[in-house]
Symmetry: D3
Subunit: 193 residues, 6 copies
């Protein structure tokens, strides 16, 4: 991150600073993406507005775990270190499955997930790697698992948005915070697995 | 666009409706992307905020023609019909070169553009297709053509953002307005967008 | 075209010169391929004999528009600037559809063409990119659209021949004449679309 | 070859029949390509006119062995059974090296050939697989091995022409004559074709 | 692992049983690969003889951490869940770096490792994905980092051997033991294997 | 083989020397792989133990010809000169078909082999190139041709093992003995084909 140094938190515009402090309060640390992108406030605001519209929405059948699973899987296909590690951590927490992030990052076909989630990830991978080949035949298999057309839009949009995020993170050499690597692997009360 | 029908312009939230009408006033028609994405207002607002932050900014050495050239070239690599045709039109207008959009869409290496623009597009294509391989060695050739690190961020961010746009357009079967195909090809055409 | 300069029209052998003048009379200009290849008369004669056998034949169900559509689509896959622009122009004229060439060049799956034409182009793309995988299973879907085995030979042969043409044009840096870019976009009588 | 049956030799047009008989006289058998393509006389005439212009020409520094080596190597990349076996046979004879055809077909980088031939094949493979990336930088390494620009045109044209041939042979399921497999492997075999 | 059920430990041949019990004693559990392959004793013996010859040897400059890093990186390229998780665990322990396995599995170019290790992994990836392109030019960059020709053989052989292992594990649906996922991530964990 | 010189046969450990002499007695020459790998006795012993467990086993429905056909086909996909030439020779002998090795090496889809063998090779190619995509759907087509689950393990294991062998041979520049090229092409009694 030396070529594109992150700004000091105290130099941020007030709205960005407030959001960063809120995240810090909640997570216990500031995920690097919040500071790395803040050197360009207008892009930062659009990035997180888009992120929140897709990842924090209440409507639809995609759980928060599903959403993070899409991010982790497609970010691994794009070989984005930041997103695999950071979103893999959040995935483990939402799914309450300490092993799932490593599984989908290496090969979602072998992961211990539901057939519905596998169909979801197969489609996400097509959006990620061959979006120009998507056609009407891609929809019925998703409908068969209970995904509505709006859910399918969500899958596509999350994949597309994190394709943007992956490219920015790899380009700018963004590193995941060390805290993410262990998060969700060791439940607070008792040891995992 | 039948699976994801565009909303009627009169049903849009006021802020979105105002922006759409402004574009219509300027271009003479409403580019389909403005209505196609408007069925999800929160995503629409983030998308165009991001777009404007990257494409309408005044700072840096990238001209508007350079920016549209990046969009046209990488969208062709992603085989996105909407973006190649729509941004190819705007590219022709900004560069005042009726042939350039077809050239970069087919093979930017053979296009009648400057060596500086070729270096810019080579890097954009790497962000588009192999962002995980970007490293420090990619920067000096760009610096040699006068691009600053901030310009390079612009190239990367524009490529990354339109990678998102390409995937959403192909996924949702977005079609370019017929007007775009001819725009900027005949000398008397008036500038749009 | 500086490395392999085109000969002067007056230095051509009589048979080649006659054909070139005939084309010039008909088109209003000499398409660059006619001069670029004429520096090697024996190759020129074979090239155009092959071209005419495939593109000017009267038999079979492939229309001239179909043939040019195959050329434009597969030449785009091979990223051949000359053939996409020159044959895209002829495609527009034969199909009387000003938008179709840009559509098939970017992504034929999204083009406003018939299901029969999409099946034709799917097969042409397989000949172009994975001819070693062609087997008996490729034929029934084409028969279902009314293509005979002879029509299928035509699709394959046109694709194969322009694969040759694409490689020679890219290798020798052949540039499309500026006239091609606009041809078929603006009907003589009234403005297009 | 059942879908596209080869015509009987006695049903061929006189000029084609004469050429076929001449080849039979010289080689001791009729290579299948001569009959397989003869079902379309106009294409046959253009194909062999092109073939002869490239493969039988006297000018330039490419030997007949060099030419056949280009064909064998690039046909293997295209996985064309007919051309690898038939032209591999002719290559063995011209080079008087019984092992060379198998070597270049599997991996020309490991073949027992000259550095000049390796450079020639590297370029041929680029024409075969990535012709859109050819640029001025490809020429000096070939010049350094004594290839003139006309020789380089020969390499490109031979590669391009057999790319056509490969696609037609794979598409039509053309099988090499059994005689080709052993030809040039045993010292006493007499030269063919 | 239902299609190819692992044998019961008590049904194993004595030599295999002894080795399995030894591993269990040391690691605290039996890694699944030891039982999954034991259904074929002759293959089991050859597999672990090969494994030990490469991974337990004392000679050369490759540390145990280096060796496991090669395994983790190339297994991720082959998308082998078992090997990435199991060898990633051993890598963390040997390198005493809790974050390194996730880093090299996602993108070794962004990992916090030495330039010598990056050169080692670049070469391993070439052996993994493009071994037919290896030539003399690949050696000097490795020599420059202090690798001898014997070390380079080690890198190649480890990569080649785990390419075998990856294919068998993916084919037979081998799952990593849950214990591996956390191993080496928390400081107090005791070394295994 | 200059970088990694093969040891003199008289310097080999006794067990290796005995095996090499046995092979020499049987084949009339020492295949280069036996000496090339012998510079590392422990790896040599594991390699040939693995080889023999897979290639010399008596159980199962795979014939020796089937096994060598898998090796030749997948080694060609990996562009390994040594294995294609050496195992192609053994394939010709076991199948008593002088043409089959060249056919499967170039394109197994066009080879004169049984539908059962084509299904076997299709699966072997998936193990070779996309093992991470193997799933339950790959088994029924093989069962339909009479392959048991144990046979399918054999196909996978042979492919995986020779993937190792291919990488070591290409990396170390191992050359096939000249004797292999002609072996099985000319039956001792009468000339082939």
């Amino acid at each position: 991150m030396s070529r594109y140094p992150a700004p000091d938190i105290n130099d941020l515009p007030e709205d960005i600073k407030a959001k960063v402090l809120e995240v810090q309060e909640k997570a216990g640390f500031v995920p690097n993406v919040f500071l790395a992108l803040a050197r360009r406030p207008a892009e930062w605001r659009a990035f997180f507005a888009y992120h929140d519209a897709l990842m924090l929405k209440e409507e639809g059948s995609l759980t928060k775990g599903d959403r993070e699973m899409i991010v982790t899987t497609t970010s691994a296909a794009n070989q984005c270190l930041y997103c695999v590690v950071a979103h893999g951590a959040i995935l483990r927490i939402h799914e309450k499955k300490p092993l799932v992030a490593d599984q989908v990052a290496v090969n979602h076909r072998k992961a211990d997930i539901t057939p519905r989630q596998k169909a979801m990830l197969d489609f996400a991978m097509k959006v990620c790697q061959r979006s120009h080949e998507i056609n009407d035949d891609d929809f019925p298999p998703l409908h068969a698992h209970g995904f509505s057309d709006e859910d399918i839009w969500d899958i596509a949009a999350i994949t597309a948005f994190f394709g943007l995020s992956n490219r920015m993170a790899s380009f700018s050499n963004m590193q995941p915070n060390p805290e993410f690597y262990l998060m969700g692997r060791v439940p607070r009360a008792k040891p995992a697995a």
